[in-house]
Symmetry: C2
Amino acid sequence: MNKVKALLASSPLKQYGRPLEVGLHQEGRRLTPQRRKILDLFENSGSGNHLSAEDVHHLLLEAKSRVSLATIYRTLRLLVEMGFLYELELSEGGHRFELASNDHPDHHHLVCVRCGRTEEFENEQVIQAGRIAAEKNGFKLIESTLNVRALCPGCQHNN
Amino acid sequence: MNKVKALLASSPLKQYGRPLEVGLHQEGRRLTPQRRKILDLFENSGSGNHLSAEDVHHLLLEAKSRVSLATIYRTLRLLVEMGFLYELELSEGGHRFELASNDHPDHHHLVCVRCGRTEEFENEQVIQAGRIAAEKNGFKLIESTLNVRALCPGCQHNN
DNA sequence: CACTCTCATTAGCCGTTATTATTGAGAAAT
DNA sequence: ATTTCTCAATAATAACGGCTAATGAGAGTG
């Protein structure tokens, strides 16, 4: 019975939820609903979406969340500085932003539940499975991620 | 541009991380390290594990986390009340507990990012993919879940 | 237009204190 | 043997106040 510690280590998967908050706090900044909403907008739109400040403004407006343009500009700059967004400069003037983390749209994680070691991998069959499940239920696919919980070699041995 | 609300609804996926904490707080209860550890024990042991109070006590002890038996009994009862655990009564006297949510060991979610509607499905290919990824990296598989983010039929249409 | 700045107002976060749920140890019950 | 109870000690939260980051509105800039 030496997988005990492994069982205890609180699942590393959980950290996926909080990086904006901790990132902000580390720098003495604050997590505001506006910042949350703006980042959520990108995170929920899946990868590959590139939005302008105006786009963000309108999207939020239509969703009954008025956020001032000034704040949107400020927040977009902030999120780029923090590495959450990429900034694309269009030659015609005007900037677009897109999620930085989603450069691998359908990537999957192999996570050691004990030490948190994580390997990424891709697998066409998995993507396919997500596509099929979506189709079967009439859903429009955005993206899919497979989380595999496991024990890494090191944690299996040196108890 | 009518997937607006969908993009805003903070991803239902995120709630997977916090349900114990929010559940407790809603009822005026407190999230203690002991409660967290006991639930983690079940969550990280994968599905199908059925443990007695004594088992939990010993497992925690071996992991250098002493939690009194009284607390373990109290917490197990609490987690059952809250729906996190199932309680199995053995005829020979003595109860066993197991994770309630993991009744489908390798189940996958199709989640509407807008309304949160969730469909479960299973897929052998996905399980296979997890198994292969684990093997390739020398990991010992515990379980895998595929999260497919999508828009449900309703949310695609009535904007 | 596409974006930044100014400034009064708002509100997030960090201490601290006060409240009370929870724990641990052991006795008691079943 | 398995589970519950008692009660003093502990510690998680709620509550409050102060500090100051962040917002919104609108003017300003190129």
